[in-house]
């Protein structure tokens, strides 16, 4: 059985045609994980026995003609989504032994379709990072070049699919944590509209930014996962009403030229221009646009996100669950447990968040950032209202980098420059592979980011498939 770049679409066809069973497919992936994941380290835990049980149950459904799009499809899940009874650690020592007490909304949806869950994937601790180097359990490797990072924070979910250790996977994206690793590993990565997929059962990072999305080898595969996991949920107060993404077929693509004027590797920009040309040849109109405040997005993000992180992670204090270090009094328990449980980047962000929210600084930092965020969101809405159907950028300024190359926190944050405006505005975006560039004799993939108006994922799929055909 050839697992190389196997898609949901193809596996669905083969399973329904009886060319192989879900159990055979699942066993093939489990075998691939056994032989190759020691090098890649995409997974923190593999659920062999349970995956086989799910595959057997799926085979019965398929035989009975009751297959849904994900029935019997082996998937990988980022280690920040709760599955009842299973450890979910957010790649942190803080939650090393924590077992989920309920299923996340997305997990309920996948189970209801009879999907096969292979295991939980590595990530930067609490989804903070762009390389998986912040995992408490060691980094994942980029399957295309093991000396390079797979991106992050959903790096394990990307490495699992790019390494052919799962058909597709779920990740979460707070500032680019799906799109950036997808770009660095040659996959399609979808961050849907904020509120379209419930975060119930997702370990919170930046609640005004967090969104669950998907990785696949094709645009079509990310759409299958999006359709399977979206929908209104009373348990997430930011969940939006059910909608069917549809509308006018996109024709006009906006390029924020001045935003792209610096910091991008020349060959990455060249690759981007080639994709623009091919879209133009397909009949799209390419128009330069101005988004004057969007260049402030990265700075805004690195105020709002740590503020929300410091608040959300306040609940991890050694009292109700998670790591607990004993002390003389409750204050000592808090201080020691949090120091022992959180890694360096998490601690850094908690402290930055505490600073920007502290009396005397909250106006200059947090409240100011909220105002600039509001202006950024308005700029996207206005651009889309002015006849622009989609906005495009490279997903990242450069291809996959080497381990240890970005030890300065601010240098690492620059990875997110093109992805964070999307989360600040709450709009949907997708990264689609658009070629390769060479680094030290290795061809490394680049990603093309497409951004659409709120609730218009159909625009992403349409243009994304045109990029795939280019």
């Amino acid at each position: 059985m050839d697992l190389s770049k196997l898609t949901i679409t193809e596996a669905r066809r083969a399973l329904d045609a009886g060319e192989y069973t879900s159990l055979e497919l699942t066993n093939a992936y489990l075998e691939a994980i056994r032989t190759r994941d020691a090098d890649i380290h995409a997974y923190l835990e593999v659920w062999e026995d349970n995956a086989r049980e799910e595959a057997r149950a799926a085979d019965l459904l398929i035989k009975a003609g009751k297959a849904q799009p994900l029935t019997g499809i082996p998937l990988a899940i980022k280690d920040n989504m709760l599955i009842k009874g299973r450890i979910v650690s957010a790649a942190s020592k803080m939650l090393e032994h924590y077992r989920a007490s309920y299923d996340a909304f997305v997990i309920e949806k996948l189970k209801a379709q009879g999907a096969v869950l292979l295991g939980r994937t590595n990530m930067d601790e609490f989804a903070m990072g762009s390389s998986t180097e912040n995992s408490a359990y060691g980094p994942s490797k980029n399957p295309l070049d093991l000396s390079r990072v797979p991106g992050g924070s959903s790096g394990g979910s990307a490495a699992a699919v790019a390494g052919n250790l799962a058909v597709a996977s779920l990740g979460s994206d707070t500032g680019g944590s799906i799109r950036q690793p997808a770009s660095l590993t040659g996959l399609v990565g979808l961050k849907p509209t904020y509120g379209s997929v419930s975060r119930y059962g997702l370990i919170a990072m930046g609640s005004s930014l967090d969104q669950i999305g998907s990785f696949g080898h094709t645009v079509a595969d990310t759409k299958v996962l999006f359709d399977a996991t979206r929908g209104h949920d009373l348990h997430d107060s930011t969940s939006i009403a059910d909608y069917e993404p549809s509308g006018k077929v996109p024709k006009v693509i906006g390029v924020p030229r001045s935003f792209l004027s610096q910091g991008i590797d020349p060959d990455v920009l060249e690759q981007f221009e080639k994709t623009l040309e091919s879209l133009h040849a397909r009949g799209y109109e390419i128009r330069d646009i101005e988004l004057p405040n969007v260049p402030y997005s990265l700075a805004v993000y690195y105020i709002i996100m740590p503020a929300e992180v410091s608040t959300n992670l306040g609940r991890l204090d050694g009292i109700r669950y998670g790591l607990s270090v004993t002390g003389e009094n409750i204050q000592e328990v808090y201080g020691k447990s949090r120091a022992a449980g959180f890694g360096p980047e998490t601690r850094r962000r908690i402290l930055v968040g505490t600073f920007v929210l502290s009396a005397g600084y909250v106006d200059a930092y947090y409240r100011r950032a909220q105002k600039v965020r509001s202006a950024i969101r308005d700029e996207f809405v206005q651009a889309f209202a002015s006849g622009i159907d989609a906005i495009v950028t490279p997903t990242t300024p450069s291809p996959a980098f080497k381990f240890g190359a970005k030890s300065d926190p601010v240098a690492m944050y620059a990875e997110d420059v093109f992805s964070v405006p999307v989360n600040l505005a709450g709009v949907p975006a997708i990264s689609v592979p658009n070629g390769t560039v060479e680094r030290e004799g290795v061809r490394l993939p680049t990603g093309f980011q497409i951004i659409a108006p709120h609730m218009r994922e159909d625009v992403l799929f349409k243009i994304g498939e045109d990029v795939e055909r280019a």
């Binding site: 939006i240 402030y296 201080g335 601690r347 402290l351 920007v356 509001s374 202006a375």
Partner: protein, 98 residues
């Protein structure tokens, strides 16, 4: 305290996070560098008003409460220490000696 007035120890206390001397020395370099970077937002030319997005993070209304006790064992099972049906914690108020 760094040159530009960031007191790492005070922040760590507010964040209930123990920090070692070594870590303080490192953070005294890193945090001002991060704050210096994000301070560029002061230059943005934006209106003083926030246009309210449709969605806000709010707690949902506490309706349809679940039956008391059905999750007690699961949730207490995750707690580091318990006494009966309570999460046990260390002393909160300490009497100073002297």
């Amino acid at each position: 305290m760094t040159d530009n007035g960031v007191d790492i120890r005070a922040l760590a206390k507010l964040a209930r996070l123990d920090v070692t001397n070594e870590e303080v020395a490192k953070l005294e370099q890193e945090i001002p560098s991060i704050l210096g970077f994000v301070d560029t937002i002061q230059k943005a030319d934006v209106p003083n008003e926030i246009s309210q997005p449709e969605l806000r993070n709010v707690m949902r209304a506490d309706t349809d409460a679940i039956e008391s006790g059905i999750h007690t064992e699961t949730l207490l099972g995750a707690a580091p220490t318990r006494e009966g049906d309570y999460v046990a914690v260390k002393q909160v108020i300490t009497r100073k000696s002297n």
